[in-house]
């Protein structure tokens, strides 16, 4: 008995030492990564602000000397340089981040939802519930219906009632399930900003024509996108999505397929909003390299 206890304590202490060693190594590696990132940024980045200044200063000098010397050529040079300098300041982006950071920040949400689903042993589907249009007046007790939500059902049971949804609860009891904010809620707002219209005012066919160019050209979230309406089903094919890495993770996140990546989720929110019906992700198909993502959405009848 004594030797067993001694062995156990030795095991524990060795485990602790290994964990400590690993934690220290991870910390060291993280600082190394940060240093390397900083160095890469320093080497790579020639800020457009500096280029702008390099144009503006000689441009202004040339303009001043053109006035002093009454020189036409100097005025042309000065005006040109100043203009390009100002343009460099003007057209530089507010702030751009690497696209790989997008999925890194989204992972935590999906992992949390995965944990919840696993813990509560949910085996149902996700239902994107359409919000009420912005201009519709809702009394205080119905304010919970203003935001789009996803209802994850515990099993293949029914849909929650309006009263239940209006309470903005997380856990619903009848039918059993949880209500969470869709991962694509931010993108949905971005879509509306680009369209300059409330998506609720668009027809489904209009949405299928408007959304792809916004995703591909304006927001550049994918290389190509195809949206087709087939009976009660909407087929979406996304090529080279910014969020493709979420489907390739080793952990194989269940919630990514259940709720869709932020882009697929935002499309589901838009479809729900435009149709005024609940939308569910019927199935998805992801190629091995995740370059092609196919999603089949299904419109479910209105709220009860």
């Amino acid at each position: 008995m004594g030797s067993e206890a001694k062995k156990e304590s030795e095991d524990k202490s060795s485990e602790l030492t290994t964990t400590q060693y690993l934690v220290e190594t991870i910390k060291q590696l993280q600082t190394e990564i940060e240093d390397l990132k900083r160095e890469l940024k320093r080497i790579k980045g020639v800020p457009s602000g500096k280029i702008g200044l390099a144009f503006i200063i000689p441009g202004a000098l040339a303009l001043i000397s053109s006035i002093l010397n009454n020189s036409n050529i100097l005025a042309f040079i000065g005006l040109g340089l100043t203009f390009w300098g100002v343009l460099f300041f003007f057209v530089r982006p507010v702030r751009y981040v690497q696209s790989s950071l997008l999925d890194s920040t989204a992972i935590s949400t999906y992992k949390t939802i995965d944990r919840i689903i696993k813990d509560l042993k949910f085996k149902g589907k996700s239902y994107y519930i359409p919000p009420y249009p912005k201009e519709v007046y809702l009394p205080d007790y119905l304010k919970g219906l203003e935001d789009p939500v996803v209802f994850i059902s515990a099993d293949a049971g029914g849909m929650p009632s309006i009263e239940e949804l209006a309470k903005s609860k997380f856990i619903l009891k009848n039918p059993k399930g949880i209500c969470v904010a869709p991962p694509g809620i931010g993108l949905l707002a971005q879509f509306e900003r680009e369209i300059r219209k409330d998506i609720a005012k668009l027809q489904l066919t209009e949405l299928c024509e408007t959304l792809p160019p916004i995703i591909v050209e304006s927001l550049q979230l994918a290389k190509e996108i195809e949206m087709k309406i087939e009976d009660n089903q909407i087929y979406v094919k996304i090529l080279d999505s910014t969020y493709k890495n979420l489907y390739r993770l080793e952990e194989n996140l269940k919630s990514v397929h259940l709720l869709g990546c932020p882009l697929a989720s935002a499309i589901a929110c838009s479809l729900a909003k435009a149709s005024g019906k609940m939308v569910t992700i019927q199935r998805d198909n992801v190629s091995i390299d995740a370059q092609t993502i196919e999603v089949w959405y299904h419109a479910v009848e209105g709220l009860t």
């Binding site: 006035i67 343009l87 003007f90 057209v91 290389k223």
Partner: protein, 68 residues
Amino acid sequence: MNFPMNLSDISLWLAVMAIILLITSELISSATEYSRNIIIEKKRLRVVALTLGLGFMATVIMRVFQPF
């Protein structure tokens, strides 16, 4: 100590700048695949190009009504 450019010079300058910027903005916005790597505010560039183009048109109209 006068500014050594008259309206005709400014008109010429506006035309050249507008052409350069309009071509650039068109090339950037049409070639989506390549322009993905160009990190600039494409909309602003287009607005500037169009403004310069309109500025040039304004000088042309001024020239029509008041030759210089």
